[in-house]
């Protein structure tokens, strides 16, 4: 029987990037999942949690569990929101087996494709120089890829999936995994640093010859794309799910 997947679409993707949700849905259905989008979902509470407002997170964490607990898997096209659910909800649930179960079955989109569905090759053709931005929370909180700080063998699910697509040429960056500077409310509260960080990432992709800039997280891309648009750089920005969907 097909796994029953609860599609977790972060609030800003729902409102601002519907095409990313659609692409995620298409890919999951393509690989045989029975996908349901529970409509009462809103936000995982990360903006409040990262501002220190835990009182404001509690009710959202409890809602989240109620909405998603019955699915076989919860899949989300954002490493950051997945990390929020898996790594930062503990204080709202004490000894709650339902939450413990939820932690184990909540996945970032690429992680679900590779580790649960066993996808290691994607069909289609995407003849572009692709720059992969390693979103920090997917990288250092979920450990979806090796980072440049830790000594060990290199790995990375998103990179492997992109490389499996015919025509994709991944660009080589001078700083392979530096933060883009989005950081939620940081983007506004520390506007000057945030924008300089973003600009530096865009320059790195420019010098590497990136034509299409992609990432696991649309929030990083929203920030980078904001800079790319303002400075009219010839770089197209796509969520990784959009690339996969375009190849179908």
């Amino acid at each position: 029987m097909a796994p029953k997947v609860g599609l977790f679409i972060p609030c800003y993707i729902d409102q601002l990037y519907p095409q990313v949700g659609i692409a995620t849905l298409k890919i999951l259905e393509h690989f045989g999942c029975d996908v349901e989008y529970p409509e009462s979902q809103t936000c995982c509470g990360q903006p409040m949690a990262n501002t220190g407002c835990t009182n404001e997170v509690g009710p959202l964490a409890k809602r989240f569990l109620e909405i998603f607990k019955s699915y076989d898997a919860v899949v989300c096209p954002s490493g950051s929101c997945v990390s929020m659910v898996k790594n930062h909800y503990d204080e709202y649930f004490t000894d709650n087996p339902e939450y413990e179960a939820l932690k184990g079955k909540t996945f970032e989109f690429c992680e679900y494709l590779t580790t649960v569905l066993g996808v290691d090759k994607l069909a289609g053709r995407f003849p572009h120089k692709v720059g992969l931005h390693q979103s920090c929370h997917g990288l250092r909180e979920l450990r979806l890829a090796s980072d440049s700080e830790i000594v060990g063998p290199p790995f990375g699910t998103a990179r492997a999936l992109l490389e499996s697509i015919d025509g994709v040429e991944l660009t080589t960056l001078q700083r392979p995994d530096e933060c883009c500077g989005f950081g939620g409310t940081f983007a506004v509260a520390e506007e000057a640093v945030s924008c300089m960080m973003g600009e530096d990432r865009v320059h790195d992709h420019e010098q590497a010859g990136t034509e299409v800039l992609t990432a696991l997280d649309m929030s990083c891309l929203m920030h980078l794309s904001g800079i790319i648009c303002r400075q009219q750089k010839p770089i197209r920005v796509m969520h990784i799910a959009e690339i996969f969907a375009e190849c179908l």
């Binding site: 729902d14 519907p18 409040m48 220190g52 000594v151 500077g181 000057a192």
Partner: protein
């Protein structure tokens, strides 16, 4: 005190300089990467160091007593200071008893933390920092901007200018060799004239009562060898249990700090020199309070390598002074609020939560998680600005009411595209200062789902 974002924005105004600062520190981070990649056992070393330090912090009283006993047995005078004031009084008392008028000091962040220099100067004692970088900032009458490279923010042209003014070097000189040699000659004189040497402590060994000071310039050795009086100032967390543990930390420290396999000098002090006097001042200054806190205890693992600063994308672009704290960067943003939460309330937010500091830390301090915990504490203590508190409250209410959330989203998506540009992009919109907002789609994902998917 001006907040971090304000000082950071000022630093970034000079974009070329901010880039230069970022690249200088990234160069050091890259050197660190090359050095640690050569050790397949790197992660094992980090794990060991973290465990040793955790042991130390949880057995601090016993280990401190053991250290005191063994140090005393070696003829060392051991002093205990509760806070910066006591620390400075003790140091001054020792100097006064020996009628010391001139002191040379090798690098010690602890004495910076206590503001020892201005304290002693008030009593007419000349104190000279002999670490080149620290001496440069001392000549400028400024604090260090980095704990390992105190003058990393100053360009060689500016050092040339400073030396011309203070040391009489040639005007317009920028040759590092020439400038360093001039500093060396002047510092030699200071070393010879001094009556006492003050050093910091990198590692104090409980089992032996001895301690180790790591420098690249040998200034700790010279400053203590030429004098009969040596005062070593250390935080109580600098202990390690056994001499055997030292190897773990010496291998981690310099690689993490600058990418060197080891510092040029690792100077061991076990008791006073013949006919000399050795004093150790052990400072608490809030450390035992941190040791008692479940959330922040691990921050006492810190061996002050500075790797978290070199890797921090915010520190690199905002400079050490933007933190207004003796220790800047990620670790400073944890220690600062522990010392004075209100004054340092903006520091835990000077972070994009990228987690690079946590992974680079040789003693595995969960830095970015502690910063997040500080944000909660700041909220609990009522120190979060009202604008943030209110906006988060409203956001949470909205997100608990799916219909309201949909309504607000839909309304915004409908209205924003029709607004004139000046209404969207103005001084109230920090996002839009240097960035475009995303295009507003006609349909949200859930609207699309209803129309296209659920009807299938």
């Amino acid at each position: 005190m001006p907040s971090h974002p304000k000082l950071a924005a000022e630093f970034i105004k000079d974009k070329d300089r901010a880039h230069w600062h970022d690249q200088s520190l990234w160069f050091v981070r890259s050197k660190r990467d090359k050095a640690v990649q050569q050790l397949p056992e790197w992660e094992l070393l980090r794990e060991q160091a973290s465990k040793i330090k955790s042991y130390v912090v949880s057995h601090l009283p016993d280990l401190l007593e053991e250290f005191e006993k063994n140090a005393k047995a070696k003829g060392v005078h051991v002093h205990w200071a509760r806070d910066a004031k006591e620390h400075n009084e003790i140091v001054h008392g020792i100097l006064e008893r020996h009628q010391v008028k001139r002191v040379v000091k090798s690098k010690s962040m602890l004495t910076e933390e206590c503001h020892l220099n201005p304290y002693l100067e008030r009593y007419g004692i000349e104190i000279v920092d002999t670490d080149l970088g620290e001496w440069i900032v001392q000549l400028q009458d400024k604090p260090p901007s980095h704990i390992v490279m105190p003058a990393i923010h100053i360009k060689k042209e500016e050092i040339g200018e400073l030396f011309h003014e203070k040391l009489g070097t040639e005007k317009g000189a920028t040759d590092p060799q020439y400038l360093t040699e001039s500093a060396r000659q002047r510092l030699r004189q200071k070393f010879i004239e001094a009556d006492a040497g003050i050093t910091g402590v990198n590692f104090a060994i409980a089992e032996t009562g001895g301690f180790v000071v790591c420098t690249n310039e040998g200034n700790a050795d010279l400053g203590t060898s030429l004098n009969k009086l040596h005062i070593a100032c250390m935080g109580i967390e600098k202990l390690i249990p056994r001499a055997n543990d030292l190897g773990v930390f010496l291998r981690l420290l310099a690689r993490s700090a600058t990418g060197q396999p080891i510092t040029t000098y690792s100077s061991h002090f076990h008791g006073p020199a013949p006919e000399g006097e050795l004093h150790i001042v052990l400072l608490d200054n809030g450390r035992s309070e941190i040791a008692g806190s479940d959330e922040f205890r691990r921050s006492l693992n810190c061996i002050r390598c500075g790797a978290c600063m070199n890797t921090c994308p915010v520190y690199r672009r905002s400079g050490g002074y933007s933190y207004s704290n003796t220790v800047p960067g990620p670790i400073g943003s944890i220690l600062g609020p522990a010392h004075d939460t209100k004054a340092n309330a903006s520091l835990p937010f000077a972070c994009s939560l990228c987690g690079s500091c946590t992974d680079v830390c040789p003693v595995k301090i969960d830095l970015h998680h502690q910063l997040l915990t500080w944000r909660k504490q700041i909220r609990l203590k009522g120190l979060l600005p009202l604008s943030k508190r209110l906006s988060m409250k409203m956001l949470s209410w909205m997100m608990q009411a799916p219909r309201l959330y949909q309504f607000v989203g839909k309304t915004a998506r409908r209205i924003v595209p029709y607004l004139p540009r000046f209404l969207v992009y103005n001084r109230f919109n920090a996002w839009g200062k240097q960035r475009e907002l995303p295009d507003m789609p006609k349909q949200s994902f859930r609207e699309w789902m209803k129309q296209n998917h659920d009807r299938k």
